[in-house]
């Protein structure tokens, strides 16, 4: 996959997408945050609280990584952002628009969703899938034109997977599918990208490639909100880490400050050590933090 060479930050920045228009347009006015959750509370009809009083702000060009054990409410939070669930209390605002008040079409122009995986029994091609990103921009009775298909092909090309355009989506590898879904989100031209465990089904190489693409998109004025089960994703690739447990935000801030050995140990209930690693860079070296679980045989004392 010749991805890295084709999508360097420079190349990506050279082709500003229309998605940036919102950010530019409001540059003169008072700063409205890109994504603003205020006291968000959600309850499932039969269950207890799944989200309680979540307040969170994500700015443009920011990658926000949600961490937390299973059932912490990460996916519920994403679903509230996507308008799939209606909050019981509090608000979700995208560029100042209340999500609940928007139609599906209006919301789709503001927020694009990259699911963990897509499954359809029909043999759609990768280009068929990518062009679906045009949906919120089409007239009510229209279907995509050749120009729309050309646009979708350009986004596939931008992510280095144009050669897959005519292949059956269902027969692509996990990493290729994820890139096609990401291309569909780019076709959607929405300023906010939501990714639900984008690397859950990928091998290590594809995991790194996808996250690299995601950070490049953020530099391109997108706001990215993603969930992950890997705390190191937050440390290496995000600008903001949000730790969630039992439907509440327990920590929110710069990853290096928020993602610590103590916070991860208490979040997941297992001993974890966070440490710095010196990465060689063009101008010397830079410290990057990463986390390592502490195996029981090495743990100091009973509880780590």
């Amino acid at each position: 996959m010749a991805l890295t060479s084709e999508t360097t930050p420079e190349a990506a920045a050279g082709t500003p997408p229309e998605a940036a228009r919102g950010a530019r347009a409001k540059a003169g006015g008072p700063a409205i945050p890109r994504v603003q959750l205020d006291d968000l509370t959600f309850t499932y009809p039969r269950g207890g609280h799944r989200l309680t009083g979540v307040t969170l702000t994500v700015e443009e060009s920011e990658v926000c990584c949600l961490l937390g054990p299973n059932g912490a409410g990460k996916t519920t939070l994403l679903k509230c952002l996507l308008g799939l669930l209606r909050p019981r209390r509090g608000t979700v605002q995208i560029s100042g628009h209340d999500v609940v008040a928007l139609s599906a079409r209006e919301l789709a122009r503001l927020v694009a969703y990259v699911p963990q995986s897509a499954s359809t029994p029909f043999p759609f091609t990768a280009l068929d899938i990518a062009v679906m990103g045009r949906t919120p921009h089409l007239g009510a009775l229209a279907s995509p034109s050749p120009a729309d298909r050309r646009g979708a092909l350009e986004q596939l090309d931008r992510l280095g997977v144009a050669r897959l355009a005519d292949r059956s989506f269902a027969q692509l590898s996990g990493g290729e599918r994820q890139l096609v879904l990401l291309a569909r989100a780019l076709v959607q031209q929405a300023p906010v990208l939501i990714l639900d465990e984008p690397t859950a089904a990928l091998d290590y190489g594809n995991e790194v490639r996808i996250l690299q693409v995601v950070t490049e998109l953020a530099q391109d004025d997108h706001s990215v909100i993603m969930t992950s089960h890997q705390p190191s994703h937050a440390l290496t690739y995000s600008d903001r880490a949000v730790l969630m447990k039992d439907g509440q935000v327990v920590a929110n801030g710069h990853p290096d400050e928020v993602v610590t050995g103590e916070s991860l140990s208490s979040l997941y209930g297992v001993p974890v050590h966070v440490t710095g690693v010196d990465l060689p860079t063009l101008d010397g070296s830079r410290e990057v933090r990463t986390c390592v679980p502490i195996p029981a045989r090495l743990a100091p004392g009973q509880n780590g």
Binding site: A108, P121, P123, L127
Partner: protein, 338 residues
């Protein structure tokens, strides 16, 4: 890279083939007519071109074969396009127009009408009405029990279909074995011989409007085939598209059954053929599947009325042709579905 899908060429080609098939079909039968005569009669009667032909040739074409051919085209188009819409909406390639129990409901309406001796027009209305009732019951089950789940909707259709099939059996049990029982049985097997020009006016209008409605939602329906949450996040109002699709497809299926009886397999198999030709996007499939379905049922009905001196039941033929065809299709594309 196909930016211009090559379907428009294929669709036009299929249109020409369909037209040729129609002309040939007019000539087939015990009273055989040459294509030239058929074209002369049709040109005069439909478009007012030429002097036309009088006498028996004209009577056969206009009074006997025209309604039957029109019925075959309408029923074939209605069943295959509604099958394609249901398959796309349910994201299930094994779904057919009977999925909501419409055919069983319509069959029950017809059986009861025959049992109590209603005239043809009333039978058609009863059949249509009971077909709609079945779909409404299935949707109600899904809404009340399943809170809008697609799986529950399919199960609701299975339940309602089974119930109406039991009621059909009851009607047959109660029927007079000398008179009404054979009539009910024959009706249920499917036959286009009952169609008259007069009885086709309203059905052709319903099917025409429903096809236009399906065409209007062709793109959101395509997007829905990739998943509910995804479609919603791409700006598709799922509930509205479901409602429109179910309504249009159900109306078309009930209309088709009320004209022709129960003709299985067309709505299951023909959409696969169309998908094979132009891909799974419903916007490209719809014109293809509509014309393929019309052509398919026309040819099968030609076989039904000319193969033997009897008028063979259409439902039996479509099943006999459809089953092996479906096996071949499974062998070719099945791995992708399952």
């Amino acid at each position: 890279m196909r930016l211009w899908p090559a379907d428009s060429g294929r669709t036009i080609l299929l249109g020409v083939v369909l037209l040729v098939l129609v002309v040939i079909s007019f000539g087939l039968g015990r009273y055989s007519l040459s294509p030239v005569t058929v074209v002369r009669i049709l040109a005069h009667e439909v478009a007012g071109i030429g002097a036309g032909v009088q006498g028996q040739d004209r009577a056969v074409v206009m009074n006997i074969r025209l309604p039957r051919i029109l019925a075959a085209l309408l029923v074939g188009a209605a069943l295959s396009s509604s099958g394609a819409a249901y398959q796309t909406m349910f994201r299930n390639p094994l779904v057919s127009p009977e999925v909501l129990g419409v055919a069983a409901g319509a069959g029950f309406g017809a059986s009861v009408s025959i049992l109590i001796g209603l005239p043809t027009a009333a039978l058609q209305t009863m059949s249509f009405g009971c077909g709609l009732l079945a779909a409404v019951l299935a949707v109600t089950i899904a809404r009340v029990v399943g809170r809008g789940s697609l799986i529950i909707l399919v199960l609701g259709g299975v339940i309602i279909g089974a119930m109406f099939n039991a009621l059909i059996s009851s009607a047959q049990y109660l029927a007079n074995p000398e008179t009404t029982l054979p009539e009910i049985t024959f009706w249920l097997f499917g036959n286009l011989g009952r169609a008259s020009m007069h009885s086709l006016i309203l059905p052709s209008m319903i099917i025409g409007v429903c096809l236009i409605v399906l065409y209007a939602v062709r793109w959101p329906l395509t997007v829905l085939a990739t998943g509910d949450d995804e479609a919603r996040s791409l700006g598709v109002n799922r509930t509205r598209i479901w409602a429109v699709t179910i309504t249009a497809s159900t109306l078309m299926t009930a209309t088709a059954v009320s004209i022709a009886g129960i003709i299985g397999w067309v709505g299951l198999v023909v959409p696969h053929l169309a998908r094979f030709a132009v891909g799974p996007s419903f916007n490209r499939m719809l014109p293809m599947t509509t014309m393929l379905g019309a052509a398919y049922l026309l040819v099968v009905d030609d076989v039904a009325r000319t193969a033997t001196t009897l008028d063979l039941p259409l439902g039996i033929l479509t099943a006999l042709i459809g089953a092996p065809f479906f096996v071949a299709l499974l062998a070719k594309a099945g791995r992708q579905w399952l």
